[in-house]
């Protein structure tokens, strides 16, 4: 039971960091990003591959954060001058192409087999490492105030926070593979952000908890509705996620915990 709660707390933390990262980009700076999963994946893979190769974590982790930020800065310099509807398409495409890269370039990423035996420095006592989450929260909060005059920096910083989320995810699970980084993960980050209310760091946590409830609830639903097969249950759950997103966009674009001024 404790193990399960720790897992839930960790996953909420990872999702909350992802949401905070997107909040820096969209909530505070108004930058569109439909490829949050890309920077999550860059952080996870960079740190995991370095660590498995024997690099100490004190170097592997900053490398993961740094590369996520660098990838975002490169994309931002090309794409940020585009109108937001084009930017939506470009960032979505970037996330998908990156996943194809992870899948195909097995010499570097180990392809579909994934990266196994990633060091787990914190074992099951992950919840004790609140300082890492706290770091992400502080970075996101500081950046949230209009400190960043340049969009590229805001975009890169949001990606760095997503990269940190990826690092924690990889080293907690000890195993990652490309299909953990499907485009729909970017959609889930949006859902958490909108659930909580964009431009609102407290909302990011609430949104992440509600989202995880939606995504993980099926474990419990399985016992209640036994006639649904695994595929059907997963499909029903994802339908629910989609419906919640659409209804929220129509009814409450300012989120469950709105700030004074909404974004929409």
């Amino acid at each position: 039971m404790i193990g399960y709660l720790t897992a839930i707390a960790t996953l909420v933390g990872v999702r909350a960091l992802l949401t905070l990262g997107l909040n820096v980009q969209w909530g505070f700076t108004g930058l569109v990003n439909l490829g949050a999963v890309a920077f999550f994946a860059v952080g996870a893979y960079t740190s995991a591959l370095l660590a498995v190769g024997g690099t100490p974590l004190v170097f592997a982790w900053p490398a993961g954060i740094g590369l996520a930020a660098a990838a975002a800065a490169a994309l931002a310099m090309v794409a940020l001058r585009l109108r937001e509807d084009y930017l939506a398409i470009v960032t979505l495409g970037f996330g998908e192409v990156l996943r194809l890269f992870l899948l195909n370039e097995a010499w570097l990423t180990r392809g579909a087999n994934g990266v196994t035996a990633i060091p787990r420095p914190m074992h099951a006592r992950f919840a004790e490492h609140y300082d890492l989450f706290y770091l992400g929260v502080v970075v996101a909060a500081v950046a949230g105030k209009p400190v960043f005059r340049f969009k590229v920096q805001a975009f890169a910083l949001g990606a760095a926070v997503a990269g940190l989320a990826g690092i924690l995810f990889a080293h907690y699970l000890a195993y990652i593979e490309p299909n953990m980084f499907l485009p729909q993960e970017s959609l889930f980050v949006w859902l958490a952000l909108i659930l909580g209310g964009s431009g609102n760091n407290r909302g990011a946590l609430v949104g992440s908890i509600v989202l995880l409830g939606l995504l993980e609830g099926s474990r419990f639903a399985k016992d209640v509705i036994p006639f649904l097969t695994g595929v059907r249950l997963a499909a029903a759950q994802q339908m629910l996620v989609g419906v919640v997103l659409v209804v929220l966009m129509i009814r409450r674009p300012e989120g469950l915990l709105p700030e004074k001024a909404g974004q929409d």
């Binding site: 495409g93 194809l100 997103l245």
Partner: protein, 286 residues
């Protein structure tokens, strides 16, 4: 190894299929001012409606195809009424996000009913004929022919009929068109219905040419975007040309990179167009 001409031919067929959702996506983007991410999922909807008719009640594939046109148009219209209409005045990105949610719902409805298995239509197996060293399937020719006819009908409608002209007027300047008495909501409804039908019909073609699974339409999303952006947003002939170029480049590209990188080719085209000539081939202001 087949000659490069074979890849070009296959690319033209793929491009012909791609052209239908690309035209729908491009015109709807211009008319409603947001990229509708659900359009490529309408292919999946159409393919499964036809599957239901073809396998369920043993309808011939031609009848199933007609059923897919009608049903997918109706689904697109229902989606517009339920999800997009209440948001008409909102910023494009909010609508884009909602459309991703819609795509996600539709895809999972399909998955809920039919599961993740690959499926195919019950159609007589035809042998491919060999013309000048090229393997050409009867289905491929038929798909290409019908796609060309559908494109011609759509273009004639836009250029020659009152409603088509009203549609273009609304796309160019919604306020002016409304002032001049163009019934905006009727125009939107008709464009949505037609766009949904085009995409649904393309889904059946895709199911005949390749196979049927819940991700078949969604997996084409980058290619559809690439075709529309390359052609110039809002231009039907542009989207057709864009789709043919994207189709051929993706097929020929598999000579150089693994086939799984097809999406990356589409993505590269998008980036190149946006950096070099954001207005696309047609050159209209987007």
């Amino acid at each position: 190894m087949p000659p490069i001409a074979q890849y070009v031919f296959n690319g033209v067929v793929t491009g012909g299929i791609l052209a239908l959702p690309a035209v729908a996506f491009s015109l709807l983007w211009r008319l409603l001012r947001f990229p509708n991410f659900a359009v490529s999922t309408y292919l999946t909807v159409g393919a499964y409606v036809a599957l239901m008719l073809n396998r369920g009640v043993r309808a011939p594939i031609e009848v199933a195809w007609l059923g897919a046109l009608v049903a997918t148009g109706a689904v697109a219209l229902a989606v517009d009424r339920i999800a997009f209409r209440p948001m008409r005045a909102r910023r494009p990105f909010s609508l884009a996000i909602a459309s991703i949610g819609v795509a996600f719902v539709l895809e999972n409805v399909v998955r809920f009913v039919w599961g993740n298995d690959f499926r195919s239509y019950d159609v007589p197996v035809t042998r491919a004929t060999s013309v000048a060293g090229l393997r050409i399937g009867r289905d491929q020719l038929l798909i290409l022919g019908v796609a060309v006819v559908m494109m011609a009908v759509a273009q004639t409608f836009l250029l020659r009929t009152r409603l088509g002209i009203a549609m273009r007027a609304t796309a160019d300047n919604p306020l002016l068109a409304a002032v001049k008495g163009v019934p905006t909501e009727r125009v939107i409804a008709l464009a949505t219905l037609g766009g949904g039908a085009l995409a649904g019909g393309a889904g059946v073609f895709l199911g005949l040419d390749a196979s049927i699974d819940p991700l078949m339409g969604g997996g084409l999303i980058i290619s559809v975007f690439a075709a529309a952006i390359l052609g110039g947003v809002g231009s039907a002939p542009g989207a057709l040309a864009g789709a043919l170029i994207v189709g051929v480049m993706e097929e020929v590209g598999t000579l150089v990179v693994p086939p799984t990188y097809k999406t990356a080719i589409g993505f590269t085209i998008i980036l190149a167009v946006l950096l070099v000539r954001p207005t696309g081939l047609a050159g209209a202001r987007a």
